[in-house]
Amino acid sequence: MSSTPFSPIVRIDRDLPSVVESDSHRLIVRNEERSGVISPSEIASTSTQNSSGNASTSTQISTDVRSLMLPEEIKDKRCWICFGEESDSVGKWVRPCKCSLICHEECLLAWITENQKSTALKKVRCPQCRTLYHLAERASLLLRVFSIVDSTIQSSIPYFTIFGVTFAIAVTNIHYGAYAVITMVGLEEGEKLLEGPWSWRICFTLPLVPILLIFSRARIADPVMPLIPMLFIRYDQLRTTMPLNPSLTISLLPWVRIVYNYSYNRLFGRLEQSWRRQLEPYSVTTDSENGENGNERRRENQDVLDRLDRSNAGRKIIGALCLPFISAMVGSFIGRFSFIRSRVPDTFHRNILGGCLFIVIKDIMNLTYKYQRAKHRRSRHIKNYTEFANEELTSNIR
């Protein structure tokens, strides 16, 4: 703060409502003469040039003698809270600290009550000399306990909120996970799986289901994806039987995903990229020979593509969460064909197969759509006015 060029002369202290610091100013000089702390009420008079300080000069004589005086012995009393003087106010005078502030008992009690609004039994100090106010009061043990409990609760609310939100998310995830499992393995099997007291594996994996599904749609999860099933698989179940048992199937899926994504990119990546580029307002392929300019434009276009990818985030998340249910639908559909039924007898494997089938079909459709759009874009040209003006004329004549 003090590094600002229009150098601050006086600063407001954050705790004390009084002006304390000053580099080269008459404020501090006057303070030393008086050997007292400046109260806020004196800011005004001290920062002006022509202050005679009539009220303060009388106290200048000796604060030490005054500090031992009882309120009754002080002349020219003025309550620092209500500004009432002896002549125009009634009430018991008290002098709770050693500084010059004296006041009515009633006024000070009102101020202390206001301070303790949030927490009962909070300590209150004199705003000028920081002396702790001593109250003769009967605070029962019960009140003290309640006060402590009250302030603890008050301060722990944020933590409870965080805990509650986390808990709610976890519960939602577990429900989703359980529902996804039941959909995938079928109702009977699913109930059997999720029945009874849950092992730690179920407790950990169920909430992970939606998270992993969402991450499976992003590239960043590639290196860790195959490792995650290994953390939770029961190794005694890892026997290579035909058909593959569910644990092994699940742990193989990430590998399948990586191989599929890799070969997809190898086969269609470049093609897809070029189609997408053709859909951009300025086609990069036509400009790329122009050296610098072309490079710049290509970079710009890449930015546009990246942005498009990001704007699809919501679509990807919803798609990922719908995957188990779509897989189950496709699974039950292919289950109607007897030759699949005979080869893949149980629901779980049919559903997994259905999911894979769905992804492949979806990708094929996506590619076709992009190809069609690119083709459409390439076939476009703008008609000259004469071309359609003639057409319109002839149609009007008819």
Binding site: F6, I12, P17, S41, I43, Q49, W80, I81, W111, E114
Partner: protein
């Protein structure tokens, strides 16, 4: 209670009138019959970008003053990190949690005047001004403040005088 409030306010008024404060050009109730709404006019500190400006503040005093702090806001537009440019709201601890009855309307006004030369850009109400300070662009900050001082806080006669 209202009696006690008006007694204190009248005394504050008398104190102010007894000893005129050149930095606080005006401090008085706006209307004769309502002592709970005051008006104050601050003079900008010399050798700061606020030099030469006069700002009017509106002070609303609660019924249980001085137990509760008065509500103060700028009526004249002012560019300062801790004062809202739109509403004139002031972010100063002594007007909120750090209030104590030892403050008076006059001393609170003077504290606001000190705030002008001691901005606290970490808790801003005017982010544009605060960001200039946080980036260390004091030249930019000062000229911005000076511009708004000239635009809003200098009366017509003052402008003619300087020109």
């Amino acid at each position: 209670m209202v009696n006690a409030v008006s007694r204190r306010l009248l005394k504050e008024l008398k104190d102010y009138q007894k000893e005129r404060n050149p930095d606080l050009i005006e401090l008085s109730p706006i209307q004769e019959d309502n002592i709970l709404v005051w008006k104050a006019v601050l003079r900008g500190e010399a050798e700061t970008p606020y030099e030469g400006g006069h700002w009017t503040l509106r002070i609303e005093i609660p019924k249980n003053y001085p137990i509760q702090p008065p509500k103060m806001k700028f009526l004249t537009k002012i560019c300062h990190p801790n004062i809202s440019f739109k509403t004139g709201e002031i972010c100063l601890d002594i007007l909120k949690a750090a209030w104590s009855p030892a403050w008076t309307l006059q001393s609170a006004c003077m504290a606001i005047r000190l705030l002008l030369s001691n901005p606290e850009p970490t808790s801003p109400l005017n982010c544009d001004a605060a960001n200039l300070l946080r980036c260390g662009d004091f030249m930019g900050y000062e000229s911005l403040v000076r511009m708004y001082t000239q635009l809003y806080a200098m009366s017509q006669t003052d402008n003619e005088g300087s020109a």
